[in-house]
Symmetry: C2
Subunit: 149 residues, 2 copies
DNA sequence: TTGCTTGCAAATGATTTGCACTGCT
DNA sequence: AGCAGTGCAAATCATTTGCAAGCAA
């Protein structure tokens, strides 16, 4: 499975993943993914609803949860803020987060291919030793963003 | 600041940190930290209250939040489970988490000193480039624990 | 038809807050 | 005295759920 780059690829991959999870690829779900795809960072429910025409909040919660279980969407909780959602690594590029402990803003970064590979091998070794079957990892930097300091 | 190993060190460091954040180091706070210190993994509010004699739930929330802002406690949110709390890296050993996406259980692991150093230097470089002042990082492995698979 | 999806409104559950009181400093 | 810290109960806010109607396979 490759990360999607074009809108068309996004929907093709998404549809595939929905089908294999026995989910219908409805208009609503398509629109939610498109909203997340357009966003430059993770969005909370309010933002998803605001940026998706004709989406009820309960449907947003329900669909995001289904899509999350199917691996299309990743959820991230920051402090006691509402949960933020973004496309999963399977639908977008693998990346990590810088989280400001003051304003709770989140921005993205990527490690070099080399670093990412090395990290992956460390984590794979740890998982193996503990009998854990790893499906992914997350790496956050905590601190103060430039706006807050 | 060194990670604490003995109970005495824990309270000495904790008191210091409270003082410098203009917080009183009360009996209640001392008991909460002791509860977290005894635990083998992160605890949710219910568990903290259950394991701390004479602690009101609202006091638990209020104190944990104060202690979190002062850097004594780390909070972690897993899926839509209640938030879990543990001693911060400043009061305990720096470590990372294995999170089971099926049962939401959390266990700990450490990287080798070498790996941890390398990781730190990568993150420091990223932060510098983005004008972010890093105070720490977190690294989670996601997947299926041995009990669930 | 059959059962997944949806929107609305009501319910739930975690977390926060108002208030009066206690206890450091 | 003066203000941080406390317990209790009430309030708030994100998230979940029941239900009746809509829509896709």
């Amino acid at each position: 499975m490759t990360a999607t780059t074009t809108n068309k690829e996004l929907h093709e991959n998404a549809q595939q993943m929905c089908v294999s999870s026995h989910l219908r690829y409805t208009e609503t779900r398509r629109k939610i993914l498109e909203t997340l795809s357009k966003a430059s960072c993770a969005l909370d429910i309010e933002q998803v609803v605001a940026n998706t025409k004709g989406l009820a909040q309960s449907s947003a919660y329900r669909n995001i949860e289904e899509l999350r279980k199917a691996g299309l969407i990743a959820a991230m909780a920051v402090a006691s803020e509402p949960t933020k959602y973004e496309l999963s690594d399977q639908l977008a590029h693998h990346h990590h987060h810088l989280i400001c402990s003051s304003c709770s803003s989140v921005s993205d970064f990527e490690l070099s291919g080399d670093a990412e590979e090395k990290l992956h091998s460390w984590l794979e070794a740890v998982s193996k030793k503990q009998g854990f079957s790893m499906t992914g990892h997350s790496l956050d930097i905590g601190g103060m963003c430039s706006a807050c300091s």
